[in-house]
Symmetry: C2
Subunit: 678 residues, 2 copies
């Protein structure tokens, strides 16, 4: 199945790069459209990116500043270059696509100081048809030794203005913001992925791949449309501390003509290392329900007392519901002791091996197993990571013994307030996306893997494709999810889910927790609501990819709408392939996905505040087959604001030769299951 071709790469015709004639190395994408140039000028190191001869990034500086030694930024020269090509197709154990082609041309540039210590390193560029990745590669003999990075001088001098969708970095609420839509020069400091559309229609998304033992990168404005890398600091302000050989994460630019081109890109996954965990057949995609939304609606509590959600009886009710409807898991939050203290300000109160007295883990593990269901574990750390690391092995063991194969972790501390203890027991504070946390999450994954447990981390470090390397990192939150609709007045605007696919979702699966059916919950939270139609809630299962998907509402709300619920029962969470059919950032998006291990296709489409009709060709369907399309669409008079429940469920017979009109109400969506009839 896998093929690998490594060959000498010939430099193709490149776009001219003004004023950087001397000492320049170049590389293009396999299709020849994208080009990267690397050069020095006055002893400083730059790279530039062009597409079809038009600048994407003007010359942008590279280098480092260091706490205890001179910065690596001046007096540099290129001492060697090396180009190669690579073409491989690899298999995902689970994912949005079964097989992924990894095809790039590579340029490795050796850079050294002309004088003095002659420290040296390599900058490696991989150029794909749909973008580039580059990273610094510091060898053991590079002359750096133990270093504290105070600044990674990596510029992004965007050649043109653009409309950009972004959320702020270094703010208190982690990654959980409604996206801003502004012009590029108006962006101050933004998390990645940050996605822009130039006025000429070119789409660019900046992110990073394989963030491990390093700090997360944000983009900080320098001037005009020129930005620079800004790394999350460690507790003493130094961004990254390393000793000996290291590579940085890949800095990635996905560059495509259309918005959907971004959605079809595998660049970030491709830049990650292959699976390091060996046999991961125990990592199972699937659907789950759970004791969760009731807490957000404030009808149940995490802590003990008369409204405690995680009771044995209540959990059995969810297990019964899951078994009856084909769900794989039942998440139980609030099962362990700690929730009755001031857990938000002191996560050390959490005990990860001690269930509440009214929660019988052993009994429930057996009860679930007998019905073909698994309990999904929950570890809310409240950002007290030393307390968690001290207990996680014991807890994973306890949970695994009771049939748990997935744990949802949580780090709901404010930005900058992750707490760890040093060897003397003093509290030290970290950022969610700092170097320490990049290593913490790895420690959790590796420990969990020993117990065949997959991790779904909430308030996580951002996703950078490490699920390829650690396939038990099955999903994350890391964006403003469904729960904000319960209490985040005014909740998420209808455009939110039309922005996420082009931004947050480019980084990897998100546990958004779709499927709210009682959209107004007028008794529980009368001032809040979900700004969506019912059909749009169904579309999210196809649009927002995750190998685990929750049916997030209360069982009774599903039982009241079994017709609509049927789609959630039917939709898989593991895919043979995925195709973005149409879309524009913040406006609308349509995905077609084919289930893995079956013949069914699924389509999901959603829109922002504006109603619209999209015509799609069904040519993604297998040729020569006839399909029954089970369509869940907005009623003709549906509207998220005035008539959110109006939905039509209808069946049609279609083939790949047909077209289908997707009529989306304002704030609406559509979900289709195509079942092969032959």
């Amino acid at each position: 199945m896998l093929k690998r071709i490594v060959s000498i790469f010939l430099i193709a015709l490149l776009a001219p790069v003004a004023a950087f004639a001397a000492d320049t190395a170049q590389v293009t994408s396999p299709d020849g459209k994208l080009s990267v140039s690397v050069m020095t000028e006055n002893g400083r190191l730059y790279y530039a990116v062009a597409r079809d001869g038009k600048s994407v990034l003007d010359p942008s500086q590279l280098g480092f500043r260091l706490s205890e030694q001179k910065g690596f930024e001046k007096g540099l020269e290129i001492t060697a270059t090396d180009t190669s090509t690579f073409d491989e197709t690899w298999e995902q154990p689970w994912g949005e696509r079964h097989f992924v082609r990894n095809h790039y041309n590579q340029l490795s540039v050796a850079v050294a100081e002309v004088d003095g210590a002659k420290r040296h390193l390599n900058v490696v560029f991989r150029v794909y048809d749909d973008g580039i990745g580059f990273r610094y590669d510091v060898p053991a003999d590079g002359g750096f030794g133990a270093i504290g990075i105070t600044d990674e001088i990596t510029e992004f001098a965007f050649a043109e203005e653009a409309t950009v969708w972004w959320i702020p970095a270094r703010w208190w609420n982690r990654y959980e913001y409604i996206y801003n839509e502004t012009r590029l020069h108006q962006v101050p400091l933004a998390h990645t992925p940050i996605t822009m559309r130039r006025d000429d229609g070119l789409h660019i998304s900046i992110h990073e791949a394989a963030l491990t033992n390093y700090s997360g990168m944000s983009l900080l404005k320098k001037h005009g449309t020129t930005f620079e890398a800004d790394l999350a600091p460690g507790p003493d302000g130094i961004k990254v501390q390393l000793d000996g050989a290291f590579v940085t994460p890949w800095r990635t630019l996905q560059i495509t003509e259309s918005a959907t081109g971004l959605l079809d890109s595998n660049l970030i996954l491709n830049l990650n290392e292959p699976n390091k965990l060996g046999d991961v057949s125990w990592v199972k995609p699937g659907k789950y329900v759970g004791i969760w939304w009731g807490m957000h609606l404030a009808v149940e509590t995490w802590g003990s007392g008369p409204k405690h959600g995680a009771t044995t009886a209540n959990t059995k009710r969810y297990i019964d519901f899951a078994a009856k409807n084909g769900f794989d898991g039942v998440l139980v939050e609030g099962w362990n002791e700690g929730w009755d203290g001031d857990w938000f300000n002191n996560g050390d109160v959490f005990n990860f091996t001690k269930p509440y007295p009214d929660y019988n883990l052993t009994e429930l593990g057996k009860y679930a197993r007998d019905r073909g269901v698994r309990i999904v574990g929950h570890h809310e750390t409240s950002g007290s990571v030393t307390n968690y690391e001290n207990q996680m092995a014991d807890s994973f063991e306890l949970l695994a013994k009771n049939g748990v194969a997935q744990v949802k972790t949580g780090y709901v501390a404010h930005g900058g307030d992750i707490k760890r203890l040093d060897e003397n027991g003093n509290a030290i504070f970290e950022w969610h996306d700092g170097q320490f946390m990049s290593e913490h999450h790895k420690r959790v994954l590796i420990e969990a893997a020993k117990h065949k447990i997959a991790i779904n981390s909430h308030e996580p470090i951002k996703d950078t494709g490490l699920r390829r390397t650690y396939p038990n990192w099955i999903a994350r939150e890391g964006a403003r999810g469904q729960e904000y609709n319960a209490w985040g007045s005014p909740g998420n605007p209808p455009s939110h889910t039309a922005v996420l696919p082009y931004t947050r979702m480019l980084s990897g699966p998100m546990d958004f927790t779709p499927g709210i059916f009682d959209l107004l919950f007028e008794e529980e939270q009368p001032n809040d609501r979900v700004r969506t139609t019912l059909a749009k809630q169904l579309s999210l299962y196809v649009v927002l990819y995750s190998p685990i998907q929750m049916a997030a509402d209360l069982p009774e709300n599903y039982e009241a709408r079994m017709d609509a619920f049927q789609f959630i029962r039917d939709v898989p969470t593991d895919w043979e392939t995925s195709i973005a059919l149409n879309g524009e950032i913040g406006d609308f998006v349509t995905f077609a996905r084919k289930e893995r291990g079956g013949d069914d296709w699924f389509l999901g489409s959603l829109t922002n505040e504006e109603g619209r009709t999209l015509e799609v060709s069904l040519d993604f369907l297998d040729a020569g087959r006839s399909y029954t399309a089970e369509i869940y669409r907005d009623g003709d008079d549906a509207d998220w604001d005035t008539n959110p429940y109006a939905m039509v469920i209808e069946k049609k017979t279609v083939t790949a030769a047909d077209k289908m009109a997707l009529r989306l109400a304002p704030g609406g969506g559509m979900a289709v299951r195509f079942t092969s009839a032959n």
Copy 2:
């Protein structure tokens, strides 16, 4: 008039500072309430601040990181300390108070590396009854040589949570934001002054004093309520470049029990150097009108054409109006060539010595002079500072020859987009509050002083009290001013002017341009309006201190309301003294000010969206005198939203023994002139 006392200071009783027993130096304020401790712990340098034995700042680190040498942060020891006291009263040539007492206790701490290069510097603390200032003082023999500062490691570890009013730093719109009101931990990166009120009622405002040849400081969250200095970067990312001896700006904490305590503080002025310009009797406070609001209402243009505002005829109309009503100046924007090109994106189009053909500068200079009025010059640079520096001497000479004594400058470029040219003519981009701009403004002031011209800079570097040193820096903008009400839908909320006194105005005079009388301008900009009552517009002349105040509206709008206009005609702009009578941040504020060189007192009071009645004692009035109070107050049914023009003008006879009820409508205000009858 001036007295100076320097004496040995005895260390008073200090609040205990836990865990920092060894190697500690301490100093208290003259009244003994505020204390500062400086100490090392594991070779790192810290300071801490307490008030009445309660921590204000927990131990907070001090130091630097440098681009080409090891940071000055570890392996440090205190080698010497020196304390002294200082008490002086000095005279302002113009100002909100004629005489200012500068009374502090000083602690100077010599800090050196234990090993290696043994670099050393001093940190100097001045402790006042109402706050502290401290700065780094690097001597020529400190062993640093030429340095690039990559981080000033100055922490502010606030001991308690607080409600805080702040605007973001490093954003595109300079300092021009509506203030955020959040909890302290929610602040990401904020400009100074940033002002907070702890839950125990203590008020703290952080800013800096004497920002010269250095970059402006913002506050960046580290964790919880701990912040650090974040300096505006230079074009290569290095924050500050210096060679040899230097002092940093003073980092200031104004610390008072009440909100009004902040308003009465002179700490920032006191920390600046005395006047360096010698005789500045040519710097004249005063009031002006001008060709300006018509452009914001889009009924006139800066550029040439049929709607050109800066014509000879139109300027004569304004001169006549100014002369008739006792104004000193007529501002004329759009007088010089350049406004017809793409000036926003290329300020190099501006010619500062070439008037438009329809603007006869010579004729107007004479016309004004004959009527006892002066033209106020205008230099919009659009952030192209090299273009401006190349022409400013010639332009100042031309303007001075025509009677101009004040020039309004403008730097309306986006944040980070100030353009200068290097010696090769290449464009280099700077921040408005970077080191380069701190020096640019000084060059402008010194050049202007040669021509006896005062400067009112818009889109400036923030005010840090340099008007004491350069008294021709007569005012600045540097906040969201009146013009946002013309086109900034939805404009400034009523609370904006109730926040400014406690934040932006703590730094110095602001040219807010009050006095809009046509509050709805339904014909010109029907979608916008000023969210204020008419009486509140009058109150701004007393509340928002500036030695120059504009009557910003069109003459015809004043002629339609001569009754209200009388207050603007009467109110002075230079004060013998100023007293904050009451106030809470974002809610309301009342000032009483006594005119300099006269016996009249003036009172201004304003409120946010909420109507309220405030009772004030008139005991600020001179004892034994009887005053006629001319009161301009909101009508009983006035409301900024529904009835903004309702105003009552009435007279009362009062003495210092009386009280006065200030009845403020929602979004309203009140202005009073107290004229001595004996």
